[in-house]
Symmetry: D2
Subunit: 203 residues, 4 copies
């Protein structure tokens, strides 16, 4: 196996994008898409800022009933003309430096190698983003906390079927997982590494 050409991303923080490679072709998918479209730009900018700060990006994505470990086909199918998700996905597609983990259920941790990848990267904090706030994001936040990860949850980088569901889920995450909830533009990504170390040392 040829060695991974990418520099190994040692970082105490990782940006996690949940279910953003998405066709939105499921019940209520149209509602989520409507609320998701406005976050695409912010996610793109956040990812770019993380890249510059040396923070790796990990896509954790539903396999949509496929079991072929073929992320490229998932991405490609979401970019086909006619796919409802195309406007959302096109600027969010992963590039060669990004990591990609397939998940079979809601939580990004359940029966996936995410925890091992995070250990390999040295990450103890997550910037958690994606879809849907009150489903996979809530599940992932709880599972991250039970595994002792610190959480930063930019409230403008996830979405749900309704603004009310989104708001309640963000509030729930803030209360129950000790997440630091902020708007993405105020996340000082270059300072997060040291901050995450300070937060942990106080625990």
């Amino acid at each position: 196996m040829p060695e991974n050409n990418n520099t190994r991303h040692k970082s105490s923080v990782a940006l996690v994008l949940v279910d953003v490679i998405n066709h939105f072709e499921f019940p209520d998918g149209d509602k989520i898409l409507k609320n998701a479209l406005p976050i695409a730009d912010r996610l793109t900018k956040l990812k770019r800022r993380c890249r510059r700060a040396g923070i790796p990006t990990i896509y954790v994505n539903d396999n949509f009933g496929q079991w072929r470990s073929d992320a490229k086909s998932l991405v490609k199918s979401c970019l086909e003309s006619g796919c409802a998700g195309r406007p959302f996905v096109e600027n969010l597609r992963p590039d060669d430096e990004d990591y990609f983990v397939l998940k079979p259920m809601h939580s990004a941790f359940f029966q996936t190698p995410l925890e091992i990848l995070l250990k390999y990267l040295g990450a103890t904090s997550l910037i958690l983003t994606g879809l849907a706030t009150n489903s996979c994001i809530v599940c992932t936040a709880h599972d991250a906390k039970m595994r002792n990860f610190s959480l930063f949850v930019p409230s403008d980088c996830s979405a749900a079927r309704t603004r009310r569901e989104h708001g309640q889920a963000i509030e729930h995450i803030r209360e129950m997982t000790s997440a630091s909830v902020v708007v993405s533009s105020s996340l000082r990504v270059s300072e997060l590494r040291s901050e995450s170390r300070r937060r942990r040392s106080k625990t």
Copy 2:
């Protein structure tokens, strides 16, 4: 996401191939390769017989430090000219009907969606094959037993660094996991479904 074109493989038995997509470029890889080459033909035949009997094939494979969920690139890199593993891999490459699960560590179950895929298929028995007998196969056999799967282990469809290591590992698996150990040619794959049901109902 376009629907999976393959017929969903409902089957009480699944054929599992561990780490057969392999470059063998690691310490003692040459020793394992030497013992692995003779099993390639038998695995190919066993897979063909399973296909005809309606038994799905699941590749569970090390990701070799890649975290891109890109099985096709793994396969491709093992087929490049100059790759030590090419003679072993070329007839064992997965086709569109096969499932493919990436594993981060030794056991095919540890931090992978294998268990969920098996539930989805309805499989309660595994035909366990691949590399290396005394490492990933032993780990996977123990994990399968703890999860209550029945095991069929064809002794001529796995290999290790030495024949002694292979033999002791097969003996260990037979003793400790209640596996049915046979040579592959005597596995009556078309009867396995009903047999696996009988074995379970007696438990």
Copy 3:
């Protein structure tokens, strides 16, 4: 080891009580206790009705920093005079027929043998009750759904710091885990076994 004297409780449904053996001596414990006291009677009645219907009761409880697998000491310490939790715990103490699983974190499934115990009992549905609605109950409900269990959540048998937190968590569970949410008195426990079978067969 002398055989378990209790009859083995084969049942497709199990009653799960989360963190009801509780001293309530932690931040905001007094707020939860205030809302928990009114549910104690309903839980006692529900447990009695389940017992009569042959449905086993499983306590899944925080170990409160103890790692001695000593449930009896936990119960005893909550019944000591002066313990804030005593009025809540005294009618809810487990008896010899009940099962008792210790959990280290929020979810009743995370790093506990609950899933194996449920398989051993043959349970595919849970009646989920206990504390606190927006913490351990939400986590457990998500984990139950990811493991394919059906859920019945009596809305008057769990509690949180505020009625608003409780109500939002119940609403979240109803929406996101396909739980059947009812008041406990309307749960026809004697019919649940067959109902849970019907629900599953439609999936």
Copy 4:
């Protein structure tokens, strides 16, 4: 819940005793008991030396079909007159400083809180002992390695049905889990903490 009276055992190493609280009343239990009796004294001494060096002891034990989280009853039943395991168990019973984790299956890690307890203690290395070498000890060793723990396996502190099974299992563990295999008397427990740190920093 009254605070744990024991000093919290922060230690980079933990002594793990698997299935030593045992009635040996199962198929081939008499064979294992015969080979286990000679290790009881060595385990007792090793435990005492660990205690003096500040290394905590964790019992991880089968629950023998009980699901009551009642370790004391398990110990008591093994000490009853007439119980085959009494001569083995009587000097190995846990005291108030020891930790006790119940396991439902073979591996000490599978569906148990052991990993969380080890994190809580700060332990990154295990001294792995107990029964039976080729069953629970092999499973636990593999699971420890996949979770990145360093292993010390004193070859004279575990046992199996036959000396051959024991020897092959020890050899397998040495080869496949990078365990340091030594006789217990040569384990310099007071130096293990620093050694385990050195071993990890080289990884």
